[in-house]
């Protein structure tokens, strides 16, 4: 780690809240739910960098409708944000990060989605430390998750030439692949999952934006110039921000910039993108059942049962996803959790 300059965590709170319906909803997407324990994934993300000598207070970039939820959840864990930038509309990750970078000066930014799980935090911190020398030299660094299976739901990164130590140049970014392509990438050992976690200096990111997406940078600057501020809350101007092109950081910057590196890391990462994923990472009983207190399971196995109120009583069934929230109950076979999209929203 650098002795002189601390890192500013930038926590992105996006997501439409449909894949974990009925628990996640637009009013309460999955990062604000305590899906894996007592803390929500947003809280776990904020706590991950709540280390005074290495990190500054975080900048949160979020949907304006979640302002109170964010303040309440940060309050519960005793984290004071440097800023909560409340987007008046969604323009994908590149403009969101631009808003944070413009507030941050030239500090290194650790950009993190708020809805992922990392079980090995020491491995994550080691990867950040490994990336920092490159970042100080002006590289844009992404973290590539060592794949554990031929997942078709993630983007991949192909490693290029090695830099000093673990980091490599990025050869290219690959979109969600077919099954066979995923299997080939897993087999060749040269590919990593794109976890959407980045480390770079704010000024370097803004410089790359000025070259590769100048309209986006201009829109972010204008939105902040006309922003309303209230305590930590920053409300960028709606009309100015709406004028920004909508694009991801991968497309707008990382694929186009010159000095882009990837640091491989194996850290128990999951994007918790489905009820199946949550079953996979969660604590199961000896019959492979994962369930909450208000469920009564008798003669069942392989169940993923979760409820925030309704009492679920099931007997003689196996390998079902049963999720109850509010006045809704979802029932799917395990392995089919993508079918939630038939009902959500």
């Amino acid at each position: 780690m650098a002795d002189t300059q601390t890192i500013i965590p930038v926590i992105l709170s996006g997501g439409s809240g449909t894949r974990l319906w009925p628990m996640s909803t637009p009013d309460r997407p999955k990062q604000f739910l305590p899906l894996t324990g007592e803390r929500t994934m947003f809280q776990l993300t904020a706590l991950r960098t709540h280390v005074a000598d290495r990190f500054d207070a975080p900048i949160i970039v979020a949907n304006a409708r979640h302002a109170e939820l964010i303040e309440a959840q940060l309050g519960e864990i005793g984290v004071s944000p440097a800023a909560i930038i409340l987007e008046p509309c969604a323009r994908n990750t590149a403009p969101a990060i631009a808003l944070a970078a413009l507030e941050a000066g030239s500090a290194p930014l650790l950009v993190m989605p708020s809805d992922h799980i990392i079980t090995n935090e020491a491995a994550f911190m080691a990867a950040v430390a490994a990336a920092l020398p490159l970042v100080e030299q002006g590289w844009l660094v992404t973290f590539g998750i060592t794949p554990t299976g031929p997942e078709t739901g993630y983007g991949y990164i192909r490693k290029g030439d090695a830099l000093a130590g673990e980091p490599c140049k990025v050869e290219r970014f690959i979109e969600k692949p077919s099954r066979s392509a995923a299997e080939a990438m897993l087999a060749d050992g040269n590919h990593l999952w794109n976890g959407g976690i980045f480390l770079f200096r704010a000024d370097i990111y803004l410089g790359a934006l000025s070259i590769h997406a100048p309209d986006m940078l201009a829109a972010a600057k204008a939105a902040l110039a006309q922003a309303k501020r209230n305590g930590a809350r920053i409300f960028p101007n709606n009309e100015a921000f709406a004028a920004s092109p909508a694009d991801s950081i991968d497309y707008a910057v990382m694929e186009k910039a010159e000095r882009v590196a990837v640091v491989p890391v194996s850290m128990g990462w999951s994007d918790v993108g489905s009820w199946d994923a949550l079953h996979e990472i969660g604590h199961k009983d000896e019959h492979g059942n994962l369930s909450t207190e208000n469920a009564r399971l008798d003669n069942t196995s392989g169940m993923m049962v979760k409820s925030d109120g309704i009492r679920i009583s099931a007997s003689g069934v196996d390998n079902l996803i049963i999720i109850a929230s509010g006045n809704e109950v979802l029932i799917l076979p395990r392995g089919s959790s993508q079918d939630v999209k038939k009902f959500a929203g």
Copy 2:
């Protein structure tokens, strides 16, 4: 039918409300639920004999906690009861019918459970007409349902010598049989299901009670002598009624009395004793799904889905029972609806 004497329907509203949990509960057992259409089974039972020239106003015998429910449900269908006898405690069917018989004088009583379905009412009325001459001669008549399968959940009646026309003497009553015994009875054609429906003169029943269960008759008389009355409501004395032996009419009277006949009838009868039974008799779509409005089924077959509020969304599952009521959801494989007892009550 007799020209001179009309029949008094006696509707028995017993049942603990556990087999159709979570919809049926002790506060609202299954006869008070609209399980097969707009009307509840209690209402359908009352409407079955709501024929002015053949039947008098009914006598209801029920649990005291259901008094208001009964009056409301009778009010909805425009039936005025002769009496609502509200049992202070449950003593099984023989004492319940004794209370009704003591209120009725010497009229023929048609005793009916309130929680059965009869889809062919004309066949039922024809069976009643066939029984009436015997009843006027002092016979105790039961109606035997022509079996449609080797059911192990019902009692059976073995037919004896034929009387005039369809009716036969009862040779004996048989308790819920084993599967093999049920198959043998179905094969020999001499057995009928015991549907718990009876026709006899009130005075003949009371006479049989005085011989075979004198303590029961004495308790019923004492309970009514000290009863409180309020409009149609009759509240038998608790202490006096509690002193009665608890026994079914089958054991206490029908198995012991001399002149006991059975009239065979095939009338689309079901005791709706389980969610499986309800699926069997209900209207299903082309995929064999029976469901209520607030259920969303996608790529399912053979489902029995019912909810009184919670919205159920299911995809890719087959042959499940999913029942939601209030804050409870029950999930079982079809064919296992007896497992509801693991959770109910």
